[in-house]
């Protein structure tokens, strides 16, 4: 019984890690000032070149900004005092199918859409507190006036 449960555990661990690795969404290509990434409840300083995963929340301080390239070549630039939640990301680099859902809770965000928005526009969605954005292969800026919240500071 023991070896069996062990191997099941090992298999599950494998599944978990591979699923997590598959959710790698992108890389922090530039950063200034205070930038943090919240992952599974833990916030840490976002280093240059660090990986960003689906479900991460990126925060920038009053002096902060961050440039992120996602795996499908979506480019993001978050301005100061921003809270960007990357809710869902998947991208198959062979079929170019996948999903991108992100919410700008406050602050500013410039977006250059990537391969996902080109191949399957319905799978790309940006949100703000008041609206949902549908995107067809394009570039745009989102600005959300922030209401101060305890959880906002990076």
């Amino acid at each position: 019984m023991k070896p069996l449960s062990l191997s099941i555990f090992a298999a599950m661990a494998c599944l978990f890690t591979s699923a997590y690795a598959a959710d790698e969404a992108g890389i922090i290509k530039s950063r200034q000032g205070t930038v943090s990434v919240e992952r599974q409840g833990t916030r840490s300083n976002a280093e240059l070149g660090a990986k960003v995963y689906a479900t991460d929340i990126v925060r920038t301080g009053a002096d902060g900004s961050a440039g992120i390239t996602l795996r499908d070549n979506t480019l993001l630039s978050a301005g100061p005092n921003s809270v960007l939640a990357l809710e869902q990301f998947s991208f198959d680099s062979t079929t170019y199918q996948g999903k991108l859902n992100a919410t700008l809770r406050k602050g500013s965000l410039a977006v250059v859409s990537g391969k996902l928005a080109k191949t399957s526009p319905e799978s790309v969605q940006f949100r703000t507190p008041a609206t949902i954005l549908g995107v067809r292969g394009t570039e745009f800026v989102i600005e959300v006036e922030g209401m101060a919240g305890d959880n906002d500071a990076p």
């Binding site: 890389i27 992120i68 859409s113 394009t138 745009f140």
Partner: protein, 202 residues
């Protein structure tokens, strides 16, 4: 007449109040690409009547609050004044550069040698560039020898970029032999345009 005098300020006051309540707190501005291409963004209210604004033209703007979303137009100057720094913060656009080789060798043509120097200079300003190098050959020689040659070409470029300061952990090199011809030819055909590596920089 006296009634009007009383009602008008009241009406004006109500309008101001209404204006405050629907003051937009969010903006979305559609931008042209550097090549001038403009895509499309739809902005739909989450609450209320799910009102939607469709942005199709350069600098078309949606101003939104919880209560309303309206179409506006921004100008190029307004955008660069308000969002110039934000747009400058975008990561470098991914690009592909092709380098060509001398027949049967992992040695670049003279012109591509210059292009390689340009790539090196470019990488100096891009500290966390992720690079993929894929080597190819023409159809002269066996598939096996071309697999080896294509990999040798890719690895040679990788080595030179690492020597120039690129992060070795961020460069991958692979060979595709004669499987992916840029110019389709029969077997055993000399074709300089097929003797290449494609360097993708993101």
């Amino acid at each position: 007449m006296p009634l009007d005098r009383q009602v008008l300020p009241l009406l004006a006051g109500l309008l101001v109040l209404a204006g405050c309540a629907t003051k937009p707190t969010e903006r979305v501005v559609l931008l042209p690409s550097p090549e001038g291409v403009v895509g499309e963004v739809s902005v739909t209210q989450i609450d209320g009547e799910h009102k939607a604004v469709r942005l199709k033209d350069a600098y078309a703007t949606a101003a939104a609050s919880k209560r309303d979303v309206v179409a506006q137009v921004s100008t190029r100057d307004e955008v660069s004044a308000r969002y110039g720094r934000l747009l400058n913060g975008l990561p470098v656009r991914p690009r592909v550069v092709t380098l060509y080789f001398i027949e049967g060798k992992d040695e670049l043509t003279m012109e591509s040698g210059k292009t390689l120097e340009e790539i090196k200079a470019l990488l100096a300003s891009q500290p966390v560039a992720d690079i993929t190098i894929v080597g190819h050959t023409d159809t002269i020689g066996s598939q096996k020898s071309n697999d080896e040659l294509s990999l040798k070409r890719a690895v040679s470029i990788r080595t030179q970029l690492v020597q120039a300061g690129a992060d070795a952990n961020r460069i991958a090199a692979a060979g595709r032999g004669e499987r992916e011809l840029l110019v389709p030819t029969a077997d055993e055909v000399v074709e300089p345009r097929n003797r290449r590596v494609e360097v993708t920089i993101r």
